[in-house]
Symmetry: C2
Subunit: 406 residues, 2 copies
């Protein structure tokens, strides 16, 4: 039951990108579980990956291949994360690239592998090998929705967004897909996010752009605080659109393209929260008045990860002292509780660290019943601010995660 999230619509193909999907039977039969992205020569690709020190084998291989550049294909499997699999897992991730490269006539190093699913199980290489020809044969430019469906695991809806804009009189497209619903506290990107544009962007701008997009989107969402082993966010610019190459973001064209890419990235990231395991509410936690953006994030994540806060949201119970408690243990050593302000949407709940005398329980109750809620905390320490997006914590989260493998 996703929160205010609909099935994708109006997905525009991106010139230079073709996508194919197959049923490889990786974990279960009759499920689309293998996806390939084929990229035209000249496509610039950059990625941002999990900071989990138990990063999965495909993440390690992606990092190495991206360092060499000239990426031509991506292979994504669900049903198995190929994480916690040691040297053998690395060999299987590399073999996936070799098999795909052989079929496509490119070097193994020009292929990026991605896996998502259960941790610590051997990747069934034989099934991927058997499924790849069908996936490649299926490749078409208008298969974005099909790919968004094929990379789902516990997601209840495919996640895909698309925007078009005009640059120098030329139509530029930005389209992306993402997946993920649990083990979500991206510290680099979500489980998996792929964003492509046909905009003509100088290749050297891509790595920093990918970071900036992740910081404004996937690195600001959390479902359960569990940073996955496989988080990967990939940005590809095919440069197929016939406008003057973007060499800087400080131009009208650069700004417009980046804004569109950020918008799609943010929609993709927020979609993961909206479809968070068991989610019934979408919550924006905004922390203002900090001495630094970093300490604002610390407080925002403490609130967004607190099981007590999240269950109160699930219950629509304005037990808002729990938010103050989370502010208190977030880790700001010299926090002065007498300067803390708390708003729930437009309701001023706490002032100077205590209950606002004008606060009425029924006002808190009214906001708590909404499906979209903004928690706003003022720290009274400076002018910095930051925000994260999260969901509530429900019975269904426990059900989903207690039954995931069965």
């Amino acid at each position: 039951m996703a929160v205010n999230l609909s099935a994708p619509s109006a997905l525009h193909p991106v010139a230079g990108v073709r996508i194919g999907v197959a049923e490889a039977g990786i974990r279960k039969a009759n499920r689309k579980d293998l996806t390939v992205f084929l990229l035209e020569p000249g496509t610039a690709v950059a990625g941002v990956f999990t900071k989990n020190r138990f990063s999965a084998a495909p993440v390690q291989v992606c990092r190495a291949h991206l360092a060499r550049g000239d990426i031509r294909a991506m292979v994504i499997n669900t049903g198995n994360a190929n994480a916690g699999t040691g040297e053998d897992g690395l060999a299987r991730a590399r073999a996936t690239c070799a098999v795909a490269g052989g079929l496509l006539g490119v070097a193994p190093g020009q292929v990026l592998p991605f896996s998502t699913g259960v941790i610590m199980e051997p990747l069934p290489l034989d099934r991927i090998e058997a499924g790849l020809p069908a996936a490649i044969a299926d490749a078409r430019a208008d298969h974005w929705l099909r790919a968004a469906e094929a990379i789902m695991t516990t997601d209840t809806l495919p996640k895909a967004f698309s925007r078009q804009l005009q640059v120098d009189g030329v139509t530029v497209t930005v389209t992306g897909i993402s997946k993920g619903a649990g083990m979500i506290r991206p510290n680099m990107a979500t489980m998996l996010g792929f964003l492509a544009t046909d905009a003509c962007i100088e290749a050297k701008l891509l790595p920093e752009l990918a970071l900036e997009l992740a910081e404004g989107s996937f690195n600001r969402v959390t479902v359960d605080g569990d940073t996955s082993t496989n988080d990967s966010f990939i940005v590809a610019a095919t440069s197929q659109a016939q406008h003057a190459a973007i060499a800087s973001w400080d131009t009208p064209a650069g700004k417009a393209v980046k804004d569109a890419m950020l918008e799609v990235s943010r929609l993709l990231a927020q979609a993961i929260v909206r479809d968070g395991e068991g989610a019934t509410k979408f919550i924006t936690v905004r922390v203002e008045g900090g001495a630094s953006a970093a300490e604002c994030r610390l407080v925002a994540y403490a609130i967004a990860h607190s099981p007590l806060v999240k269950t109160a949201f699930f219950a629509s119970d304005p037990n808002l002292g729990r938010i103050l408690a989370a502010v208190g243990y977030a880790g700001i050593e010299d926090l002065d509780q007498t300067r803390i302000e708390l708003h729930l949407d437009d309701v001023h709940v706490a002032t100077k660290g205590g209950r606002n005398p004008a606060y009425r329980e029924e006002d808190g109750q009214r906001v708590m019943k909404q499906s979209e809620i903004t928690v706003r905390v003022g720290l009274g320490r400076g002018t910095a601010a930051d925000q994260v997006w999260t969901c509530d914590f429900s019975h269904d989260y426990v059900t989903i995660n207690a039954d995931y493998r069965s």
Copy 2:
């Protein structure tokens, strides 16, 4: 449904300590919700308190009063935490001490106040004032069980333990009580823990002893990772036992007394986990082979707080890759995943960061079904070790916390 926890039995009174309880109607009628401890002159008292920067008013008052010394009484109320209550809350906590001091003929500064319950509601001082005479009139040496019951909130069982030992041919008693079941990630002590002994201990040893006992007990348990605003752990030594005063822990008598106090502290702390909200399993997370005890704790807490790990334990599902993922995001920047070992009790699950080839799923399944489980992680970085105790994460946790105020 507490995990292997029974109702207290054989609680020995501590000479120099009397306890009284009353029904003050603080939040609900017909509930024992007000407790007083009366301490004989000469009792040394020390405390360890929450590190939450939103520490409750009574915690702030306790710190101030303990700094002055010569404590003669403690007043504990449930039903209201007097936290997030600003200056008004401080005034009410001080007024509680003034009223109790007036009734007992001691100074307000010789009284310690404690509160537990809902945050950000005004403390009903009038009801505490009205209830105190009855609580004081009720004071008796053998009321430890009654006190353990009166300080309960979402606890399903009272928590109290007692030990006796011989020092110089004299019987010495150590008895304690604790409460707490949610908002438990003590970073100082649990919600509330009170430990008393009639041992004759030099007063100057108490503050450090309280810290050491907390470090070996309350500071090693977690239920949901939410550090409360009110955590308080108090150690009182009445010196009523007629043995030579303990001036150092490096003597047989000192060691024996401290061991008994640590044992009771640990039982009280573990009882909180066993009675953790919704708990069905008691889990010891031991991390070995660290470069420091601090990094072992970091990893142990990451595992103990992971909702994914905790729901897997609830489901008895050996989805043990989730433990590796938590090790990976715990925060050790230079962690080498290829050195990680994982045991579940005697079952060797992962070796060198990957699945142990000899590991069989049915062995993991067998251990996961137990009600007491030890997770043992080897980091391969040094010789330090540490451990924490936690419980699983069940439907009932969500139910309890979604309904707590209703």
